[in-house]
Symmetry: C2
Subunit: 254 residues, 2 copies
């Protein structure tokens, strides 16, 4: 199965839809889909299979007839990742991997110990790049909805995002914490009918400083969480945290 | 805390030990530890803290006085990863990430759909490189015991390794499986006093072919396992599988 195409409108079985713009270009010219090929499509968050009916390589247009609806690939439990800004392409790796695992969205946040600083211009360019990576990873991993990606200069500017999410818990991964492991923490949030929302928080390479740590705990009510005595790199911790939460709620295949 | 030094013999609090060879060189000349600095040491699999008493940069010697024993960083539940040989540096990424997460060892295995083929010479060189990466990742993540790394040409030559491990279950991650999720599979192996051993099996980029799949199930008694409807890359699946198993048995911080 080739990567999934994202269509911004609703559709239904029997309808024919046309991909143009970036998606059309990508499928017609980069992936070079062929007439008669089966393709998976997420239309406005709903997954379908379709058959390619026409490809115009020059114009970057692909016409697809929708043949069947398929099971949803999104998790009911929503896990968002707050990732402290890290250097190099680490944030890109985090977004790619966690999108595959099933993260619902990302907030990249400047931290006291972040080695990189982003000027507003640079932040805009980075954000565009990160969103592209989230879209590509969502396509490759057959997600129905590409994760959202936001950038915040610090925890204060992130506050409205957090307020809107209203998570059941903010799981602040902390290598100095020993008392509360992730599994014990999640036992406080048993499975219920209405799906839960969690935020997993991972620091930059150097971790959070004491002031940031207190802010998350006192102002945001975050739980300081241990993932055990082994030290995870910043680019590994997010995927492990997101995977463990989704596992707990039966979202990794039940 | 700087990376952990591995000492091949037993030691105890009060003793003074000397690192020479590669470890001595690494700590004296690359990490440039200083006299009086605290350092963590795993001696024959047991973790300690120590104080650097002397550094000879030229000779690559570091003398450390052992000051205290610390809690073990190894998991009681052992999870081994079988990784289908993948191209580029993907196997290196897998070994690095899964070592951080806590994998006990790795078997890299040639698969029908592996794009790369390793001649015996090349396999030896690769194996040396993979073991170095496991050692470095074990040092950085503060493991007590660096994971083992083996290479097998195919599932037949891997058989004795598997026989020696006697795992409770072989968890064969399979994107074509929908019935049995990892969490439901692990419910068959409740926590008991004697720690359990699992093998997680991940295919190369193109997955396993039908013959390999049957071989794992019929000859080795592997369970075909789903991690859900989202498609994980080969370099992501191992870390997710290992993390989820360790999470289930309370090894990610309890």
């Amino acid at each position: 199965m080739i990567s999934r195409a994202f269509y911004p409108h609703r559709t239904c079985v029997g309808e024919t839809i046309v991909f143009d713009g970036e998606q059309g270009h990508h499928f017609a010219r980069v992936l070079r889909v062929r007439v008669g090929e089966e393709i998976s499509v997420a239309a406005n968050g709903e997954p379908f299979l379709g058959i390619v009916e026409d490809v115009d390589g020059k114009a970057g247009l692909v016409r697809v007839r929708i043949t069947s609806a398929i099971e949803p690939h999104e998790t009911a439990t929503k896990v968002f990742l707050v990732q402290g800004l890290a250097k190099g392409d680490k944030v890109e790796t985090v977004i790619q991997k966690c999108t595959e695992v099933g993260a619902a969205g990302f907030a990249i946040i400047g931290a006291t110990r972040s080695v990189v600083r982003l000027s507003p211009d640079k932040a805009d360019a980075k954000l565009e790049r990160w969103r592209k990576i989230a879209l590509e990873a969502a396509s490759q991993s057959q997600r129905d909805i590409p994760p959202t990606v936001h950038y915040f200069e610090n925890a204060n500017t992130l506050k409205p995002w957090l307020a809107e999410l209203q998570p059941d818990a903010i799981l602040f991964l902390d290598e100095d914490e020993r008392a509360l492991g992730l599994r014990n923490a999640l036992q406080r949030y048993p499975r219920v009918d209405s799906p839960r929302t969690f935020v997993v928080v991972v620091g930059p390479e150097g971790g959070w400083d004491d002031k940031e740590r207190s802010h998350w705990v006192e102002a945001f009510g975050a739980l300081r969480i241990s993932l055990g005595p082994r030290i995870l790199r910043t680019e590994t911790a997010g995927a492990v945290g997101v995977a463990a939460v989704l596992y707990e709620y039966g979202e990794l295949g039940g």
